[in-house]
Structures are given as structure tokens and as C-alpha cells.
């Protein structure tokens, strides 16, 4: 079991790729989601095409395209940089859809009411819409974050030294493939646990913490989080997951 330390030693690299690309994706997703819900039709279509392109092509192909593509433009990024770039941009497409589904889950009457009250659009978004969309956005973000952690294994294929690379190397050097890969898989599973826990904590809506007051009388305004979806390894869309419930 000496090899175990070698695998454990590169966990920080996997987590680093994961964290940086998640943050990159979450940030880039904000303007993307904004464009996807824009009033202007061409902007909307452009954003939809961007999202569809990144979701319709396997991440592995994107890894190669960006890795080779940057070379063609005369840049010579390290494998790590192009891995983070690829995963970050690809996640921005998925996360933008999460934002959108969260925001559109808030009943339109809520926004209409704020207009009637004379709130500015900005204030209405921050104070009224976002707090209600939060549980759904965090649920989607969480399942995507878990999925992304598993995707980081793909970066071993373009030569980033992370857990899979080390595991593969060890097996090629004669370690028992059965145990090495099984333990690596279990490590990935264990790493997902705190993410799932953190998401559950963050996504709890404020309403649930409060004692049932008069506002518990308005159940319409509380968007219920979608039923737990099979977090897929390629980011399923929420509406596809929910359709099983009749």
C-alpha cells in the first residue's frame, strides 16, 4: 500500500484544477446567463449557441481542441493551463443553464409585484428574485461541482499530473490495477462528500431556518428544489431529470 501515498500526494492538484475551473465557470456563467435571458433576440440566440456547443461536444474533445488549438495560434500553454481553461469554459455553459433554470423558477408574479411597488430592476433582482432562486441554483451548482470533480480525471489524458495519471503510472510500473483504480475511485467519491454537504448547507433557504411565521402562508412563492437528479458525468439538464416525476 506504499503507492497510496503517491496517489494521495497529488490530491491537491486535482482539487486545484477543480476549484479554479469551477470559479472560472461560475463567473463566466453570469454574463452568459444574462445574455441567454436577454431581451434582444440575436444576443439570446448567440448565448444559446455557445451553451449548446459546449454541452453537445464531449469534454475530452474540447480538451484536445483547446490544447491543439492554442498551439496553432502560437501559444504554448502547459497542460495544466489548457485543462483549467477547458474545464472552466465548459462549466460556464452548464452553470449558465443552472442560473437560468433557477431564475426562471421564480414565479413571474414576484417580479410583476416588485414592478408594481416601484422597485428598480436591480433591487428586485437582488432582494426578491435571487433569494428565492438560491435553493435551486445551489442544488444545480452542487451537482455540477461534483460532476466537475470527476471530470478532472480526464485531464490526465492531455498529460496533467493528477490522481489518474499517477494511478495509471503506478499500474504500468506493476502495481495491482484492481486495487489501485478501485482506491482511486473511492478517493474521488470521498472528495465528493464534503462538496455535497457544503452545498446542502449553502442551499438551505432562509425561510426554512425561520420559525413558521405569517409568510409560511404563501407557499406559492417558495420554489421547491427539484428532486434530486442523478448527477450525471456529463451534466444533464434539469428539465430532463424532472420529467420522470409524473
Amino acid at each position: 500500500m506504499i503507492w497510496l501515498t503517491d496517489v494521495l500526494a497529488v490530491i491537491p492538484i486535482s482539487l486545484f484544477i477543480w476549484a479554479v475551473s469551477l470559479v472560472l465557470g461560475a463567473v463566466v456563467a453570469v454574463p452568459t446567463a444574462g445574455a441567454r435571458m436577454s431581451q434582444l433576440r440575436p444576443v439570446r440566440i448567440l448565448a444559446a449557441v455557445y451553451i449548446e456547443i459546449f454541452r453537445g461536444i464531449p469534454t475530452l474533445v474540447w480538451l484536445f481542441v483547446i490544447f491543439f488549438g492554442l498551439r496553432t495560434f502560437g501559444l504554448s500553454p502547459t497542460a495544466l493551463v489548457s485543462a483549467i481553461l477547458t474545464l472552466g469554459i465548459a462549466s460556464s455553459a452548464y452553470i449558465a443553464e443552472t442560473y437560468r433554470s433557477g431564475l426562471s423558477s421564480v414565479p413571474i408574479q414576484q417580479r410583476e409585484a416588485t414592478t408594481a411597488l416601484g422597485l428598480s430592476p436591480r433591487l428586485s433582482l437582488i432582494k426578491i428574485v435571487l433569494p428565492q432562486a438560491k435553493p435551486i441554483i445551489f442544488a444545480g451548482l452542487g451537482s455540477y461541482a461534483i460532476h466537475l470533480l470527476k471530470e478532472t480525471a480526464l485531464t490526465s489524458l492531455i498529460g496533467v499530473v493528477e490522481m489518474m495519471t499517477v494511478a495509471n503510472y503506478l499500474v504500468e510500473r506493476g502495481a495491482n490495477g484492481l486495487t489501485v483504480f478501485f482506491v482511486t475511485g473511492v478517493i474521488y467519491m470521498l472528495l465528493c462528500l464534503p462538496i455535497a454537504g457544503a452545498v446542502r448547507l449553502l442551499g438551505r433557504s432562509r425561510r426554512q431556518n425561520r420559525p413558521a411565521g405569517p409568510d409560511s402562508l404563501t407557499p406559492l412563492s417558495t420554489p421547491t428544489a427539484p428532486p434530486e437528479c442523478a448527477a450525471p458525468w456529463h451534466g444533464m439538464r434539469w428539465h430532463e431529470c424532472n420529467s420522470s416525476s409524473t
Binding site: E52, I53, R55, G56, I57, P58, T59, L60, V61, W62, F64, V65, F68, G69, R71, T72, K150, E151, A153, L154, S156, L157, M164, A167, N168, V171, N176, G177, L178, T179, V180, F181, F182, T184, G185, Y188, M189, C192, P227, A230, A231, P232, W233, H234, M236, R237, H239, E240, C241, S243, S244, S245, T246
Partner: protein, 231 residues
């Protein structure tokens, strides 16, 4: 255009992988879904362990486990078989949950009514529960097939010459790696868009049916009747 034509043999392999994975994985998922709903505690725990491993392991880890781990146990698979086995297993895990909740969502009254009519237990499942359960998850499963299609790209890592593997090979022979990869990406994109459109279309169609059915069904104004089961 030439690039896309060059990749056609790879596309055939990708389709073959895809079909085999779904043919093995979906029935397996259904069986596993039943296992999850069983009364027996040990069997249910076993099912949960399988589902969690299938869903919790990255696809690449499962693939390597099957391809270079199983030989330790004397199971030697070709790279093609390894991809099918690994992703059929993963598909099983993911769809087990979908099937489980679908079977669960069929109203109990259906089973009870069938029992009252004297149907045998297996006949109740096959003739009454399953048709209702499966019809409700078809769009979800179609969406899932897109994910399986994308997962077959990992076959590259064990040397299967499917769409990604072939384009990598051709690309490194002809020094036009980027063009071949872009062509492969384009093919994936078209396939995925077509399948998701099909899923959306089926979903909207079944949703339309649902509304119609509820409207036309003769409903007695009895407040405690169970909601009309979805056809």
C-alpha cells in the same frame, strides 16, 4: 468536409459502442431499480452500494478499472469490450435511480386493483406497472443516451478507434490534429442536438397527451379519488 468523411468509420464504432452500452445498461438499470425497491434489506443495501459506485466513480476510473484492473482476476477484455462493460455498468447505476423512482411513482392503487383482479405477481409488473413507469421516463432516458454518447469518447483512452480515438490518430498522422478534432466535435454536436430535440419533442408530446387525457376522463366529483394515472 474531407475530415468528416475520414471520420465515418469512427462514427460507426461510436454508434456500435453506444448501442451495446444502452442494450446492456438499460435492462440492467431496470433490474437494479427493482433491487432498490425490494423489501429485503441486504439486497437493497447491495443495490445501493452498486449504484453509488457506478455514480461516484469518474467514468475514466471505471474504464481503467475494467480494462487494466480486471485482468488481475483473470477477466481479460478487449478494449472495445472494456468500454462497453464499464459504461454499461455506469449506465446501470444512473438509470437504476430513474427506473426506481418511476416504478415508485405508479400509484399503489394500480397494483392493488390488479391484485384484486387476480393477476399473478409478475404479470402485474409486466402488464400494469412497467408500461406506466417506462412511458413516463422515456424522455429522461433519451436525454441520458446523449450522455452515454459523449462518454464513449473516453474509449480513446484505451485505444478504441471511435470518433475521438480515430480523429486523434488521423490527426497525428497528418499533422492536422485541430481540424480532425473540430470535425469530430461537429459530428458529436449534431448527434447530441438531434437526440435532445427528439427528447424535447417526445416530452412535449406526452405532456400534451396528459392534458387531453385529464380533460376527457370522466371524473366523478369525489374529492378523495386518486389522481388519474398518467397514460
Amino acid at each position: 468536409m474531407q475530415f468528416i468523411l475520414d471520420l465515418m468509420p469512427g462514427l460507426a464504432t461510436t454508434f456500435g459502442l453506444w448501442l451495446l452500452i444502452l442494450l446492456i445498461g438499460l435492462p440492467g438499470g431496470l433490474a437494479l431499480g427493482y433491487l432498490l425497491g425490494l423489501g429485503s434489506r441486504t439486497l437493497r443495501v447491495l443495490g445501493l452500494v452498486i449504484v453509488n459506485i457506478a455514480r461516484g466513480f469518474p467514468g475514466l476510473v471505471t474504464l481503467y478499472f475494467v480494462y487494466s484492473g480486471l485482468p488481475e482476476l483473470g477477466v481479460f477484455l478487449t478494449n472495445f469490450q472494456a468500454v462497453v462493460a464499464a459504461f454499461a455498468f455506469t449506465t446501470m447505476g444512473y438509470t437504476a435511480e430513474i427506473f426506481h423512482s418511476a416504478i415508485h411513482s405508479v400509484p399503489r392503487a394500480q397494483t392493488e386493483a390488479a391484485t384484486a383482479l387476480g393477476l399473478k405477481a409478475w404479470k402485474i409488473q409486466v402488464k400494469v406497472v412497467l408500461p406506466q413507469a417506462i412511458r413516463s421516463v422515456v424522455p429522461t432516458l433519451l436525454g441520458f443516451t446523449v450522455i452515454v454518447l459523449q462518454a464513449t469518447a473516453l474509449g480513446y483512452s484505451v485505444g478504441v478507434r471511435e470518433l475521438t480515438g480515430l480523429s486523434y490518430n488521423l490527426g497525428s498522422i497528418s499533422f492536422q490534429a485541430l481540424s480532425y478534432m473540430l470535425a469530430a466535435g461537429l459530428i458529436y454536436l449534431v448527434l447530441c442536438v438531434v437526440i435532445s430535440q427528439l427528447a424535447d419533442w417526445m416530452q412535449s408530446r406526452s405532456a400534451g397527451k396528459r392534458v387531453k387525457r385529464v380533460k376527457h376522463s370522466p371524473r366523478k366529483s369525489h374529492p378523495t379519488t386518486t389522481p388519474t394515472p398518467v397514460a
